[in-house]
């Protein structure tokens, strides 16, 4: 059970306070309700590039990192398809430094030309390091393009192509900031050795006079239901053939999300899962195989991913996966197997809660979903799922006509 208090400033900034007097540290987490799904298709990668620019100095503070390090603090940030999250950890005595830094960059950035120039290059190198210069680095770009025809999940957070990042202009940066980086579109979580009264006072003092801004209303083009199986074959300079199958899933807030998550785990979560046991250990068709999804807020993808044992034919590997899916669909769900995946969820949630930072991150995430208290009912949502519901989802989700299959061949010339 994670305890927290919540209040909202007049400008619309939601503030959550999670007191934990067992630690000498404090965490300040600021989540902005904007991710790469909110980008213009001609300017992809922008939300993430912007995250870099948030460290390039704000209206009254030329350098973000130095004063924080001087206060014994550390920070980082990440951008996903759904959201952008910034977090600081520092000794609790120095928490006001975090309020000062975060409120100033919510008020306004310095919009430095030099920072934009340098960070464009840095992000281009990040793009190369993770998505170009690595074997299989472009897989997710391909899968997204195959599985989404309409929804902005069809591009990756890093961006669709290098040119989108290279062409980013300072006016775009300003417009993006004033549209999305406002109190009304943000959630502040403060955790650790703090008190509610102290946080109220500091939040009012540092964030209270920032203009609230306009609530961003999201109207994303929705993905039409898939009606026929899709397939893509590519060849790349990689040493081994790989196979990917993605199936559309439910949005994070849909009741059926929990059953769907359990289906993925039964199929391919961990070394006692069905796919690993049959396809790696017994049939020896794959050297590794997993089934996973990203828990995205809009409808995501359940993906089966595996590398083939050298000499195995792609079609045979694909058939074997389909056979395992058919087997799962045609049987009643075994109660022990269902209990196992529920136990795995319970344990995973408990391990996430160990770290103060992760508790603060999660409170912000659930608040973004609608209500931070969802965090405390999360395991109950899984625990209530019945064997019948799981079985129904194996049929609904893993229908072959919903599949998006990528044959990724090793080009051995």
């Amino acid at each position: 059970m994670i305890h927290y208090d919540k209040f909202t400033l007049e400008n619309g900034l939601r503030v959550l306070v999670h007191e934990d007097q067992t630690t000498p540290m404090a965490v300040v987490n600021v989540l902005y309700d904007v991710g790469s799904r909110d980008e213009n298709p001609a300017q992809t990668g922008f939300a993430h590039l912007f995250e870099h620019l948030m460290f390039g100095g704000s209206v009254n503070i030329p350098d973000y990192d130095e004063p924080l390090q001087m206060a014994g603090g550390e920070n980082n940030a990440y951008t996903t398809n759904d959201l952008t999250n910034y977090y600081i950890q520092l000794p609790a005595e120095n928490i006001e430094t975090a309020f000062w830094l975060e409120s100033d960059r919510m008020m306004s950035l310095a919009f430095s030309k030099k920072s934009l120039e340098v960070q464009r290059k840095v992000v281009v190198e990040e793009f190369k390091e993770h998505y170009i210069n690595k074997p299989y680095g472009d897989v997710w770009a391909k899968i997204r393009e195959l599985a989404y025809t309409t929804h902005p999940y069809r591009w990756m957070t890093i961006g669709k192509e290098l040119s989108h990042i290279e062409n980013a202009k300072l006016e775009d940066v300003k417009a993006f900031f004033f549209k999305h980086y406002t109190p009304v579109n943000a959630i502040l979580v403060v955790g650790g050795k703090v008190t509610l009264a102290q946080v109220k006072e500091l939040a009012e003092k540092w964030f209270g006079d920032i203009p609230g801004g306009e609530k961003y209303e999201r109207h994303l083009p929705q993905e039409p239901a898939q009606t026929a199986a899709r397939k893509l074959e590519i060849k790349a300079k990689v040493p081994l053939d790989a196979l990917y199958k993605s199936y559309p899933m439910y949005p994070r807030s849909d009741r059926r999300y929990y059953a769907a998550d359990l289906v993925a785990d039964i199929l391919g979560g961990g070394s006692s899962s069905r796919l690993h046991q049959v396809l790696v250990k017994e049939k020896k068709l794959f050297s590794n195989i997993d089934c996973y999804h990203f828990g995205s807020l809009d409808a995501g993808l359940i993906t089966i991913e595996g590398k083939l044992v050298k000499g195995v034919k792609m079609e045979d590997a694909d058939t074997a996966i389909k056979e395992e899916i058919r087997k799962l669909q045609s049987e009643d769900i075994n109660e022990r197997e269902l209990q196992k995946v529920k136990n795995r969820v319970e344990s995973m949630l408990a391990f996430e809660d160990i770290s103060l930072l992760s508790r603060a991150n999660n409170l912000a995430f659930y608040e973004l979903m609608g209500d931070a208290s969802l965090m405390n009912s999360e395991f109950a949502n899984y625990d209530q799922v019945t064997a019948e519901e799981v079985h129904a989802e194996t049929l609904a989700l893993l229908d072959d006509k919903n599949s998006n299959t990528l044959y990724y061949y090793a080009d051995n010339q």
């Binding site: 130095e66 206060a71 430094t97 120039e117 990040e126 040493p239 006692s272 044992v309 319970e346 344990s347």
Partner: protein, 426 residues
Amino acid sequence: MNRSNAPAIKDAVEFDVLLKPYEKFTLDNGIPVYVVKAAEQDTLQLELVFPAGSWHETESLVATATNFLMKNGTAHHSALEINEAIDYYGAYLNRTCAHENATYTLHCLSKHLPALMPTLQAVIQEPSFPEEELAIYKQNMKQRLVVNLQKSEFVANRYIDKYLFGEFHPYGRVSSMEGYDALQTETLKTFYQRHYTYNNCRIFMAGNVPGNAIDLLNERFGKAQWNGNSHIVKPELPIQPAEEKKYRIFNDENGVQGSIRIARPFPNRYHPDFSKMLVLNTIFGGYFGSRLMNNIREEKGYTYGIHSQVHNFRQTSAINITTEAGRDVCEAAIVEIYKEMERLQTELIPEDEISLVRNYMIGAILGDLDGAFHIITRWKNLILNDLDEHYFYNNIRMIKEISVEELQHLAKLYYNPGEFYELVVI
């Protein structure tokens, strides 16, 4: 309120950094158990450590393979049954094999510990090393190696270790197809029997420790002299550094980035310069505000990240600067790395920078001591290296007190560009 003025701070150097003490228990057969309790969480971490790292193997990859395959079949249970037994309780049983030691780590909800103990006991005390599991392991590890060999950073890490320590030394030895092919179950069994014995076992436990945890451990690990008694003598293995200092290697003609490694040998943690170097290294390339990051990422945009680290290897150590930089700016980045070394040799570190780094390092240690799992990890590193809390407090003192003159002296001793190995893999 003037937003240009920073709020007052308490200097982190004024914080008392305390390493919470452990409790020590001894099982009936003499196995030491080190415990750090935290009642406020529901989770537990239990680690069993053996002197079974690659240092002790006589054939390549034997230590890692033994460590990995102990979990894949025991006298009475198949790999699947073991995985089922662990997964059913939502637990994780991880194995790691490092240079000196090899470890089995159980993470679980505390309430499930009793149910998991029989499986843990079987994995540690009666692994059977099935032929078929070894065959699958060889095939999968070879496939993984083939993929990794296409990554410039993986290849660069292998080469730099080889230059620093020599390819026959455990710190410089690398995996190979032939190495995997040569593995035999008999060799693994022999290695297991010699190294995973009750008298070589040490146990570290942290988190929400159930009241009967020591009794449970005693019942499963403390009664018998399981796997017998063996006296491990650590052989002396001299390093054989390469003569040639500069290397340019093409791994992929079309690569868009180069993996840069700039490294030199450095004494181990028992040398008085070691704890001083941790401070100098932080300034140079050990945190986000470091000189290398500021210059090569934030000024020039040559890379997504650049880091310098001091390895904490037991016998002998190294300083290693690593970055992935754009292919056409690799040489320019190297010039800047050396410039930053020379700057530390010729100019005293300004007062505001050194106090920032002192505060940053103390703050990071405070954050890192948060929670029982982190605290036991600190203790484990001390205990396994035959050190105690004095070493920890000496490092803290060094961070708070070392002078800029001393740091400059250190830079003159250890940051001479000509003494570094220099490697770019594209």
